[in-house]
C-alpha cells in the first residue's frame, strides 16, 4: 500500500490527539442514591486500586504500540475462537437440541430472578423481598399484620403493597411453596431482620446449596422451616440446618436422595434446643406392639 510519509505522520498525530482528547474528558455524574433508603446493607466496596498492589512484570522487550491509522481497525481480542464458538453453539442432535432448549429455559429463569440492586436500594430489603416474592406467586406476611399478602391472580398489579420505602413493614413470614426459586433468586431474600417463618414446600430447584444459603442468612432468626417435597435436598443439607439455633419446627418429607435421614434428625434434636421435627418416622410403631402369637 503506497502512502506518503507526510500523510502517515499526519495520521499518527491525529491518533495521538484523539487519544489525548478522550483521556481528559469530564467524568460522568455519579447517580445519587435514593435518600429514602436508610439501611446501609452490604454495598460492594470497590476492590483496592491497582496502584496499591505491587504487580511485578518483566519489562516488555517487544513493544507493541500501535501508532498508525490502521490501528483503528485492529483489536486485542482473538476472534478466531469466538467464530468457532458461534458456529458450534447448537449441536443438531436430539441430545444437543434438548440441551440448547434447557439452557434457554434456565437462562430465562435466571434473568427473571436475578438480584436487582436498585430495587433493594429504593424499597429497602424487606419490601423488595415482598415485591419479589408476591410478583412470582408467593405470599408474604408482615410483622404486626395478620393477613397474607398475595398477588391477585387476575391482575398484574400488587395493590396491597406500598410502592415506597415504609419503615414499619417488616417481613415476618414468607410462603414460597411451589415457586420456581433458584439459588440466585434467594439472593433477593437477604437482609431481612425478622424472618421467622419460611416455607419452601414443593420447590423443585431447592438443593443443599440453597439450604446452605438460607441457614447462613437466617441462622439467628428463623423459627419455622418447611422443606417438604424438595427433591434435590440430601441429608447433608438437612444437617447444615444445625446452624440455625432458634429453629423450633422443621417439617420434612419427600426427600428421595436423603440417606440416613433419621440419624441426622436425631442428631439435630440433640443439638438444637427447641426443635420439633415433623414428618419423620423413627421407627415403625406397629413393631412395638406385642405380637399376636404371644397373646
Amino acid at each position: 500500500m503506497a502512502i506518503s510519509y507526510s500523510r502517515l505522520t499526519h495520521l499518527r498525530l491525529a491518533e495521538k490527539f484523539r487519544r489525548s482528547c478522550t483521556s481528559t474528558s469530564s467524568q460522568r455524574p455519579v447517580p445519587v442514591s435514593s435518600q429514602i433508603s436508610k439501611i446501609d446493607h452490604k454495598k460492594m466496596m470497590k476492590p483496592e486500586k491497582k496502584e496499591d498492589r505491587v504487580i511485578y512484570e518483566l519489562p516488555k522487550v517487544y513493544v507493541e504500540e500501535n501508532t498508525t491509522g490502521l490501528a483503528l481497525f485492529s483489536s486485542n481480542t482473538n476472534y478466531g475462537i469466538k467464530v468457532i464458538e458461534v458456529m458450534n453453539a447448537i449441536k443438531f442432535t436430539p441430545y444437543g437440541l434438548r440441551q440448547t432448549w434447557d439452557l434457554f429455559q434456565e437462562d430465562k429463569l435466571l434473568r427473571s430472578q436475578i438480584y436487582i440492586k436498585e430495587r433493594a436500594e429504593f424499597l429497602g430489603p424487606e419490601l423488595a423481598t415482598a415485591h419479589f416474592l408476591c410478583f412470582r406467586g408467593g405470599k408474604v406476611r408482615f410483622h404486626g399484620q395478620e393477613d397474607w399478602i398475595t398477588q391477585d391472580p387476575d391482575s398484574d398489579m400488587l395493590t396491597s403493597l406500598p410502592k415506597f420505602y415504609v419503615e414499619s413493614y417488616k417481613v415476618e413470614a414468607a410462603d414460597c411453596s411451589k415457586m420456581t426459586l433458584i439459588y440466585e433468586g434467594l439472593e433477593n431474600m437477604k437482609n431481612m431482620e425478622n424472618l421467622k417463618w419460611l416455607s419452601l414446600e414443593g420447590c423443585p430447584h431447592i438443593d443443599d446449596w440453597c439450604l446452605d444459603r438460607i441457614s447462613g442468612e437466617y441462622g439467628n432468626t428463623l423459627e419455622y422451616l418447611d422443606i417438604r417435597n424438595c427433591h434435590r435436598v440430601t441429608d447433608k443439607g438437612i444437617a447444615s440446618l444445625s446452624k440455625m439455633k432458634k429453629l423450633k419446627t422443621l417439617i420434612l418429607g419427600g426427600h428421595p436422595e436423603a440417606k440416613n435421614l433419621e440419624l441426622v434428625c436425631l442428631m439435630l434434636e440433640d443439638i438444637l434446643p427447641e426443635i420439633t421435627i415433623r414428618g419423620i418416622v423413627y421407627c415403625d410403631e406397629s413393631l412395638l406392639k406385642p405380637s399376636e402369637a404371644k397373646e
Binding site: 519489562p59 513493544v63 507493541e64 482473538n78 458450534n88 439450604l211 447462613g216 442468612e217 444445625s242
Partner: protein, 527 residues
C-alpha cells in the same frame, strides 16, 4: 535487494508488529550488505517505567542460555508398518501422517499431569466451542492416582484467604461446584455428585493475629464472601464444645464453605474431558526437545536472534519405550513433581531467564482419622486452631479427621507415603484436645498421607507463561489449597491459551516472573 525472508509485513518498516513472530521459522539469508539497517543500537537505552531491582537488571542484560535438553530420536514406527512402507503401501500406515494409530505423535496443547489441575484445564480448553479443533493430550503417569495429591486431599473449600485473587478463585470454585452436575454431564454421561458438606470453616486467632483477621475479613466481605466475626463469648455460645482459652477472635464462614469429595470432582472433569475428545496417555515425561527458532530483525525494535523453542516431549511408556509428542503449547500441571519435570525443560538449568527453577517440591502431610464419642457432634465446621492444627467431622458416626502442618525442621521425608503416628501423639492430639475437651477420649482409627505441591518461594500457585519458553505455561505450586481453585485456574489457563490474557480473574501477580524478580506474594497467615 532483500535481506530477510519475504513476507508482506517485512516490506513495510513503518508498521510496528502486532503479532508474535516467535513461532515462525525463517531462513534468513543476506544478499547484500549495503541495505539500510533500522536497528536501535545507537539510540539511548530505554529505561523501563517499572522499578527493576539491580540484580534482576543484570539478569535481563545478560544472555539467556538454554542448555541442550534431549537428543532428537526418530519416532517409533511399528515394524509391520515399516515393512508396508518399504513395499510402497502408504496411507493409513504412512509414518509421515500425523495421528499415528498406535500412539499420538502430535497435539496442539500438551498437559503434563492428569490430576485435578490437568483435567480441569483439559475440560476448559475443549468445552470452548464444542469441537473447536484443538487437539489436547494429557500425559499422566499413574491413572489409578495412587500417589496423586488430589485424591488424598481433605477436600476443603473456603474463601478465607488474604489475597484477593485467592478469594475470587475460591468463590468461583464454589459456583462451579454448585453447577458441576450440569456442566460436567453429557450424552450418556451423568454429572458428578461432589457431596458438598456446607459446614463452614472456623479460623481462631489470638490477640496477636486479631488485627490480621479483621483486615482479611474486610477484604473477604468486600469481594462477596459471607464471613462472620465472632468474639470469644459469642464463639462459646455458638459452639459450646469449644474451649476459648487464648482465643481473641474467630471468623466463621457462613456460606459456600465446607468440604467436598475430590475424587468425584476429578472423575467428573476427566470423564467429561474424555467425552469431548481429550486423549489421556499413560506415560512418564523424560525429556524435552528444542528447536532453534530465529526471531527476525524488526526495525525499531531489535536485532535478529535465535532462541530455543520447546517443540517436542519425550515420554516413556510402561514397557520402557520412549515415544515423542510434538506440541504447540505445553502446560505444567504435574503437582508435586512439577519442579523435577520443569528441570527437564531447562527451567533452572540455564542462565538469564532460565536460571531460576520452578520452586515446587513435594512435601508430605499426614491426616489422621479418629473416633470421639464425646466430640462436637453435627455442628462442627472445619476448625483451624491458633497452633495450625485443624479438624473436621467425618460422616455421622462420631468420626473426625485432623492434621497439622509441621514446622520447617520437622518436615518428614518424601520418599514414600508411610504415616508417622508419633506425630499425632506429640503434635496433633494435644492441640485438638486442648481446644475441644471432648477430644480427650478418642481412639485413633486410621491415617493416610499425601504430598502437597509445596511452593517453597511463597506457598501460592504459579499460574502463567514462562518468560523465555513462551509456549510453556504453569498451573502448579498451590501448597495445599489447589483443589478448590482448580476450576478457576483451568479457566484462567484457557483464557491465556485462547485469548492471550486473563479475562475474568487477573492472576498476573501469580506469574513465574515473581520468582525471577524475587518478589514473593505471601498469604498472611493467622497466628
Amino acid at each position: 535487494m532483500f535481506n530477510r525472508a519475504v513476507t508482506a509485513a517485512q516490506l513495510k518498516p513503518w508498521l510496528k508488529f502486532n503479532y508474535i513472530l516467535k513461532n515462525v521459522t525463517f531462513t534468513v539469508r543476506s544478499f547484500c550488505n549495503s541495505c539500510p539497517r533500522y536497528s536501535n543500537k545507537d539510540d539511548e537505552p530505554v529505561k523501563p517505567s517499572i522499578l527493576v531491582p539491580e540484580d534482576f537488571q543484570a539478569e535481563l542484560d545478560g544472555e539467556t542460555y538454554c542448555p541442550p535438553l534431549a537428543q532428537p530420536i526418530k519416532p517409533h514406527v511399528h515394524p509391520i508398518k515399516k515393512s508396508f512402507d518399504l513395499l510402497g503401501i502408504t496411507g493409513r500406515n504412512d509414518p509421515k501422517t500425523h495421528n499415528n494409530l498406535y500412539f499420538p505423535r502430535h497435539c496442539d496443547i500438551l498437559i503434563i499431569g492428569g490430576g485435578i489441575m490437568g483435567c480441569s484445564i483439559a475440560y476448559w480448553l475443549k468445552q470452548r466451542g464444542h469441537d473447536n479443533g484443538l487437539r489436547v493430550i494429557v500425559v499422566e503417569q499413574d491413572p489409578s492416582y495412587t500417589r496423586a495429591s488430589t485424591v488424598l486431599s481433605v477436600g476443603g473449600l473456603r474463601q478465607q484467604f488474604s489475597l484477593p485473587e485467592n478469594i475470587e478463585m475460591s468463590l468461583y470454585g464454589a459456583e462451579f461446584l454448585r453447577k458441576s452436575k450440569k456442566l460436567l454431564s453429557g450424552e450418556g454421561l451423568e454429572g458428578p455428585d461432589v457431596q458438598f458438606h456446607p459446614f463452614g470453616y472456623l479460623f481462631l486467632a489470638t490477640e496477636k493475629g486479631a488485627d490480621q483477621l479483621i483486615a482479611n475479613h474486610k477484604l473477604q466481605t468486600s469481594l462477596g464472601a459471607k464471613i462472620q466475626l465472632l468474639s470469644a463469648n459469642k464463639l462459646k455460645q455458638k459452639f459450646p464444645w469449644i474451649n476459648t482459652d487464648g482465643v481473641e477472635l474467630a471468623s466463621l464462614g457462613l456460606e459456600n464453605e465446607g468440604w467436598f469429595d475430590p475424587w468425584s470432582l476429578l472423575n467428573g472433569f476427566r470423564n467429561k474431558a474424555l467425552e469431548m475428545g481429550v486423549e489421556f496417555v499413560k506415560a512418564e515425561t523424560v525429556g524435552f526437545e528444542t528447536q532453534e527458532t530465529i526471531v527476525p530483525e524488526q526495525p525499531g525494535i531489535g536485532d535478529s536472534g535465535c532462541y530455543h523453542k520447546l517443540k517436542r516431549v519425550h515420554v516413556r511408556l510402561h514397557d520402557g519405550d520412549i515415544r515423542t509428542i510434538d506440541f504447540s503449547k505445553c502446560v505444567m500441571a504435574a503437582g508435586a513433581q512439577s519442579g523435577k519435570v520443569s528441570k527437564l525443560a531447562g527451567i533452572g538449568l540455564g542462565t538469564g531467564l532460565l536460571r531460576n527453577a520452578l520452586p515446587v517440591e513435594p512435601r508430605k502431610r499426614y491426616v489422621y482419622c479418629f473416633h470421639a464419642p464425646e466430640g462436637p457432634g453435627l455442628d462442627c465446621p472445619l476448625t483451624v486452631d491458633t497452633t495450625g492444627s485443624y479438624f473436621r467431622r467425618e460422616g455421622l458416626g462420631g468420626h473426625y479427621v485432623a492434621g497439622k502442618s509441621p514446622t520447617a525442621n520437622e518436615e518428614p521425608g518424601v520418599a514414600n507415603l508411610d504415616v508417622d503416628y508419633t506425630f499425632f501423639d506429640q503434635q496433633v492430639w494435644p492441640d485438638v484436645a486442648l481446644r475441644v475437651p471432648g477430644f480427650e477420649n478418642i481412639k485413633l482409627k486410621s491415617a493416610w498421607s499425601g504430598y502437597y505441591d509445596y511452593n517453597t518461594f511463597d506457598q501460592n500457585g504459579v499460574i502463567g507463561i514462562h518468560p523465555y519458553h513462551t509456549n510453556f505455561l504453569f498451573a502448579t505450586g498451590f501448597s495445599g489449597h489447589g483443589l478448590q481453585q482448580a476450576p478457576a485456574v483451568g479457566r484462567a489457563i484457557m483464557e491465556l491459551v485462547l485469548e492471550g490474557k486473563f479475562l475474568t480473574i487477573d492472576l498476573s501477580r501469580f506469574a513465574f516472573d515473581r520468582v525471577i524478580a524475587n518478589q514473593p506474594v505471601f498469604e498472611q497467615n493467622i497466628v
